[in-house]
């Protein structure tokens, strides 16, 4: 009995350790949640609902992708949502109240995000205050800063057509399908090229089913997603933008020397230091990326809600949803393990649960409790699968 448990733990651990398998747990969770609400709420699986589910998850997803980067180095950013709030407020004040041209306002919001988070990163890296404390202080300070920027009104409307278009414009159906086809071809080509190169160098090859599974899995997911979204209004532009940014960050974290440094610092800081990786600058860079993503989240949020209010960002559940999304996606709170793609899937899990409970008429209280339970389950799975992985030796 104990043996069976150990073996299944080990399998779970091994499954999460493999490059392909790290998506599996969160994908299965997503399918289970969709299946459950599909049965209990007839409208849940409708194209219209899915369309809004994707839009709702975009803000959380953007922030979760950023937070994943600091989780990778074993730090945390509790101020990310407040930073997004400051950026959104700055954007709204500049455009709506001051009449500043939109591109300049966007640049100002991005610079603000980078400066605020970068400053936190410097304090964490150089003064060596734990990130938990620095960003908790940041959370409070940035909440105040957001209130100051918003002024006495507490909310500013966002009517600028360009900003609004970010989350209201959709791709024509054909372009949606073209992107799916392009994605599949590009992935297949990349997988095939790697395979051929590895074979010619005499290196071990992944099993064929794993490579094929990668392509088929991606194709299926993309095709189903686009088919559903096209069934309503088409693929929202903001979803494509978010996926593009995530792809870029995904590439940086897995394929560059900087990305390797992130994983090394998170996995074993002492080891990273001894091989000459700059811990301080890796930290500062990671926090700067969170700031950038927080600014994006602020802009997307301002667009989506057509207004900027304290509760939609700094004061609401955005932060915990974003951290929850990253962790549910399988990124470890202990550092060194995770992926920005998983953060997107985690955001969909959080969004789906909230959406399904809303459809069922659940109270805000129930939503909080159930979200908490799911988060706890995800973190427990993380802890258990770590143990499982170390038992396979």
């Amino acid at each position: 009995m104990a043996d069976t448990l150990n073996r299944s733990l080990a399998t779970l651990g091994a499954m999460r350790e493999s490059r392909f398998g790290s998506y599996l747990p969160v994908l299965l969770a997503l399918v289970a949640i969709w299946g459950f609400f599909g049965l209990t709420e007839p409208n849940f699986l409708s194209p219209r609902n899915f369309y809004f589910l994707f839009l709702q998850s975009a803000v959380v997803g953007t922030l979760a992708v950023g937070i994943t980067i600091v989780l990778l180095i074993g730090d945390i950013d509790l101020s990310a949502a407040a930073t997004a709030g400051v950026c959104a407020a700055l954007l709204a004040v500049l455009i709506t109240n001051e009449g500043v041209p939109v591109p300049i306002a966007i640049i100002a919001a991005i610079v603000a995000g980078i400066v605020l988070s970068g400053a936190e990163g410097m304090i964490v890296a150089f003064v060596r205050v734990p990130s938990f404390v620095v960003t908790l202080a940041g959370l409070l300070a940035f909440q105040g800063l957001m209130l100051k920027i918003l002024g006495i009104h507490g909310a500013i409307n966002m009517r600028d057509p360009f900003i609004r278009d970010l989350t209201t414009a959709n791709l024509p159906n054909e372009i949606g399908w073209a992107l799916v086809a392009l994605g599949i071809v590009a992935l297949a080509l990349a997988v095939w090229r790697t395979r051929r190169k590895r074979a010619s160098l005499g290196l071990e090859l992944d099993p064929v089913y794993a490579d094929l599974g990668k392509i088929v899995g991606f194709g299926l997911l993309a095709a189903v997603g686009v088919a559903i979204l096209n069934g309503y209004r088409g693929v929202p532009v903001v979803v494509v933008l978010l996926l593009a940014v995530t792809a870029l960050l995904g590439w940086i974290t897995t394929s560059t020397r900087f990305g390797r440094a992130l994983f090394a610092v998170g996995g074993n800081t002492e080891s990273a230091r001894r091989v000459g990786i700059s811990i301080t600058w890796t930290r500062v860079a990671a926090f700067t990326i969170v700031g950038l993503m927080a600014a994006f989240a602020g802009i997307v949020g301002a667009s989506r809600y057509a207004s900027v209010s304290f509760n939609a960002f700094a004061g609401g559940p955005l932060l915990l949803n974003a951290i929850g999304a990253a962790v549910i996606g399988g990124t470890s709170l202990f550092g060194g393990r995770g992926s920005v793609w998983n953060a997107i899937l985690g955001a969909l899990v959080i969004g789906s649960v909230g959406n399904g409970l809303d459809l069922g008429g659940a109270s805000a209280a129930d939503k909080f409790i159930i979200s908490g339970a799911i988060l706890l389950l995800a973190v427990s799975l993380d802890a258990v699968s770590r143990r499982g992985a170390s038992q396979t030796r």
């Binding site: 091994a14 350790e17 190169k197 590895r198 160098l201 290196l203 071990e204 590439w251 940086i252 394929s255 560059t256 020397r257 900087f258 390797r260 440094a261 994983f263 090394a264 998170g266 996995g267 074993n268 002492e270 080891s271 990273a272 001894r274 091989v275 000459g276 990786i277 060194g336 393990r337 992985a389 170390s390 396979t392 030796r393």
Partner: protein, 275 residues
């Protein structure tokens, strides 16, 4: 008694001048004299055991050689050229690499990533316009070199260099740490208690890897409390006691009792000097 004397002729140890030689190394920590003028030498193609009781100065000497500590006094020679070792970077530039007892591997990364950590080769070509740290890593050439490195050390049980270090056995991890140290242009390898936490089979595996390196002409310092291992792997044994060198013994011409006596009491004057 000074056992630090001429090398006895007619032994099986490799001939030649010492590759690394240190003379009169002194190191104080506050009021405590950790090293009180230690002489030490090491030849190419030789495994030199470094033994002594706790506090005898083994680790201090190692760390000075690796550049982690700076000696208060003393002269360092590599191939008879005097050098200074004032930082880990400088030690590594001189070809000195150390494998600490804690190994310092990233368990969340695979064997290849650990071997190249901090010095990953990047893909040549179009990526030149990117900042150095954002260039894509050349994973395939890394993996080829990692395979070669693992094969050089003869780690047969390691099935894949794409395995995460977290799932490896203790012996395999030690081998990976050794491979990382010798992967860079190194001629001197310092091993701190490499078999302390290992079982019999894994110890054999690590000793085998050390032997392969010696046969490739590396000069290896082997710190251990386990005299069994020391007698099995070393060519000579240096004994430290209270911060001084109390003797250098040819492994084949000494025995357990003599070494234990040297460790505990500085050696019995009757047979300590075997030269």
């Amino acid at each position: 008694m000074t056992a630090e004397q001429q090398h006895p002729a007619g032994t099986s140890s490799p001939p030649g001048e010492p590759h690394l030689k240190v003379v009169g190394v002194v190191k104080h920590f506050g009021g405590v004299e950790a090293l009180a003028g230690v002489d030490f030498e090491l030849r190419r193609g030789e495994v030199m055991g470094l033994v002594g009781d706790n506090g005898a100065g083994k680790s201090t000497l190692m760390k000075i050689l690796a550049g982690a500590h700076v000696a208060d006094a003393g002269h360092f020679y590599i191939d008879e050229t005097e050098v200074t070792i004032s930082s880990p970077h400088e030690a590594s530039r001189l070809g000195i690499q150390i494998v600490y007892q804690d190994l310092a591997l990233c368990e969340n990364l695979d064997v290849t990533a650990n071997l190249f950590l901090g010095k990953e080769p990047t893909v040549p070509g179009w990526t030149r316009f990117l900042p150095e740290r954002l260039r894509p890593i050349d994973t395939l050439s890394m993996e080829l070199e990692a395979l070669a490195a693992v094969q050089r050390l003869d780690v047969r049980t390691l099935k894949s260099v794409r395995a995460k270090v977290g799932v490896l056995s203790g012996g395999q991890r030690q081998a990976v740490a050794i491979a990382r140290a010798v992967g860079t242009e190194s001629s001197i390898l310092l091993l701190d208690e490499p078999t302390a936490a290992l079982g019999v089979a894994q110890t054999a595996q690590v000793l085998n890897a050390v032997r392969r390196l010696r046969d490739n002409g590396h000069a290896i310092v082997y710190i251990s409390h386990n005299l069994g291992d020391v007698f099995e792997i070393t060519d000579r044994i240096t004994v430290l006691r209270q911060g001084t060198n109390v003797g250098v013994f040819e492994t084949k011409q000494t025995n357990n009792d003599e070494i234990v006596a040297a460790i505990t009491s500085g050696g019995d004057p009757g047979n300590g000097n075997h030269g």
